[in-house]
Amino acid sequence: MPSMEDALILARAQFGINIGFHILFPAITIALAWYLVAFRIAYQRTRNPEWLATYRLWVKIFALTFTMGVVTGVVMSFQFGTNWPRYMTTVGAIAGPLLAYEVLTAFFLEATFLGVMLFGMNRVPDWVHIASALLVAFGTTVSAFWILALNSWMQTPAGHVFADGQWVAASWMGVIFNPSFPYRFTHMMLASGLTTSFVIAGLSAWRLLRAPSDGGAAKTMRAGLVTAAVLIPIQIFVGDQHGLDTLEHQPAKIAAMEAIWHTERGVPLVLFAIPDEARGRNDYSIELPYGASLILRHRADAQLQGLDAFGKDHPPVAPVFFAFRAMVGVGVLMLVVSWWGTWATRRRRAAPRWMLWMLALFTFAGWVATDAGWIVTEIGRQPWLVTGVLRTADAAGDISPAQLGASLTGYILTYTMMFVAYIVVLTHIAGAGAGDKPAPAGGPGGAAIAKATE
């Protein structure tokens, strides 16, 4: 029935657009919350007003970003029910409690203490204010913990049994600490750290373009660069471990990521190609001999399963293949930029203007890599919603394509407007007051951040 297929595609498009949009904001707030704790404690210890200015500026950006995350997250909580009602009736006994624990242990905590963080500084003792910042940061991390536990369970389910016509938890520890969870959680936390560091460096560079003498912005930019330069190699290592774990538990995803069509020994690494799904081969491919076998099995002649090993139960190749290359490609560029930038600004050297432009351009590079990574892992799980347990097509509801289309249009219009406004306001905040004085205390980040990294 074509209308069922339309409805499925629309439901997927709608949910995909929503989660792809939503994750942009937690990707910043998770790490930025911990940055803010550091700023606030530093002000407490040094009483240097530059720290306070730094805190005040970035808490505004945090609040704005947090709101974007909250409102799109509320939509997501409803879409679990509207778009995938059979997800909840089949595996809801596992997914439901994990989602509810996120609400109970994280959402209220973050929302309530963000109010104290933003508006309560003059109303509460210092220690309560610091504790509030700490609780907000703790909340963002706990939130990531639960939702990534659920997502990882959907990728590599464990700890579940079939009882009374549905899947229920046999061991909650098994469900939560499923095989891919430790890797995915670490990978995402580092992704947030990198995304935030590039936002901090990029917005500071943007300010320096408008106010070259702002010493605070220069030091903040340096802080973001140094943090990114340190985190990227760790991320590459964790990403590799994550990939090996995926090879063990979701070999079809790896085969799609690397566009390996046939099970063979000594598989080359495809650097670039146009995967041809219909014929089951790669066109115009550029390959490194034995590369894939070496990376994935650490042996040149090792055998790797190709897509042919999975019959029809493998994800579409092209989106997974290209998104993986986009993630790795942007990651490598971020490595180059952060190391180069760290070198160029060594011993308080001023970065040349072209480098400032480059950093400004890279402000949201972390977003591209993060979204590309999520596309790899989510489309890479298809045709399953929960690997081996529930197919995506079996989870959809019976909302008509017309209603889904109408709501999709509404969401896209709203998100586009929100996105444009967010970027405009962020760049406006970063550049605000740039022309007033030679060095307004604490541009984005203020002089103070840098002191910690010097």
Partner: protein, 328 residues
């Protein structure tokens, strides 16, 4: 232990907490166009530290529905699909307008102010529309839709009442005097809404009719409408007391408004129980697997007291009259 019953109560408490708490800040949002620029800044400050946590009660409510009553998802959210989507768009506009209006200037600020109002209004109206559709069991036909539209309009009035009485509590001077007038208009709308729902619900379902008009039970349940009337009267008297400047009476109109909402909610709960979808699906039929309910109950029992505790703490920290420029 009757787990579905426990979760019905928990979900009811979440929804009531949401309606009262987000109700007052949506109400303040709807009242924005009636105030001057300076007053708008005070109004926004009065809800600034709270709105985000208030909205979280909605997420908890839907979280409990997802987790505890998954069988009800398809009929309930399917039946309410478009109003739900419109409500979500409204809540998004309201939420981001909050932050964007502060940073904007000139016509941009006007635009965000307008979107703040429009988002609050859209979300409130759609919630009423959802209630109207839900009560009638998603019955189709022009009359049922008109009924839902009327409930939507009345809920807007109800939120305006909550918002206005909140402003009586949190502001002073001219704005407080204006809020008294708004509160009285809101009260009239609430009266209409409560009456409408009370008349319509028994008409739609025989089950409900029996519950309300089965003598001698009638005598017992008539306490609810009587108490609601009394609360409405008390609210009117309380606004008069605030107007005369009587000390320590600022909180009374808001308290009375909360009482009206709680009583109306109790009446509705009495009518619908034990159905999740009226006359079609009971809470026991819709309930999730006991392993899920037990897991959730443990978490809720441990964490909810903390949530209530720090929510009270937050209201204590931000007690007293709101001042403008909280965000500047």
């Amino acid at each position: 232990m009757d787990l579905p019953l426990i979760f019905m109560v928990l979900m009811g408490v979440s929804v009531l907490a949401y309606v009262v708490l987000d109700g007052y800040d949506l109400g303040v949002g709807m009242l924005m166009p009636a105030a001057t620029g300076e007053e708008q800044s005070v109004m926004v400050s009065s809800i600034g530290p709270f709105w985000d946590a208030n909205e979280t009660w909605l997420v908890l409510g839907i979280g409990i529905l997802l987790t505890a009553f998954p069988i009800a998802l398809a009929p309930v959210l399917g039946g309410l699909y478009l109003p739900v989507v419109a409500m979500l768009v409204g809540l998004m506009l309201r939420g981001v307008a909050f932050d964007f209006r502060i940073k904007a200037q000139g016509w941009h600020r006007e635009l965000w102010n307008w979107l703040f109002w429009a988002g609050s209004f859209l979300a409130s109206f759609c919630q009423g529309l959802m209630l109207g559709r839900y009560i009638t069991g998603f019955a189709s036909g022009f009359g049922y839709w008109m009924f839902a539209v009327l409930v939507g309009a009345s809920l807007c009035g109800g939120y305006v009442l909550l918002g206005a009485t909140w402003l009586i509590l949190k502001t002073e001077g001219d704005l407080q005097r204006k809020a008294i007038v708004w509160a009285r208009w809101g009260l009239a709308w609430v009266g209409l809404g409560v009456a409408l729902v009370s008349i319509a619900t028994p008409m739609v379902s025989e089950t409900v009719r029996d519950k309300w008009f089965d003598f001698p039970r009638t005598l017992g349940v008539m306490v609810l409408p009587a108490a609601t009337l009394a609360a409405g009267f008390a609210l009117w008297v309380a606004t008069a007391a605030v107007k005369r400047g009587e000390a320590r009476s600022d909180w009374r109109p808001f308290g009375a408004a909360v009482a009206i909402f709680t009583l109306a909610f109790a009446g509705l709960a009495y009518s619908l129980f034990p159905y999740v979808v009226i006359d079609r699906l009971t809470i026991w039929e819709a309930a999730a697997h006991p392993t899920a309910l037990r897991a959730l109950l443990v978490g809720a029992a441990i964490v909810l007291p903390f949530i209530v505790g720090y929510t009270i703490l937050s209201y204590r920290i931000f007690r007293g009259k709101a001042k403008g420029g909280l965000y500047d």
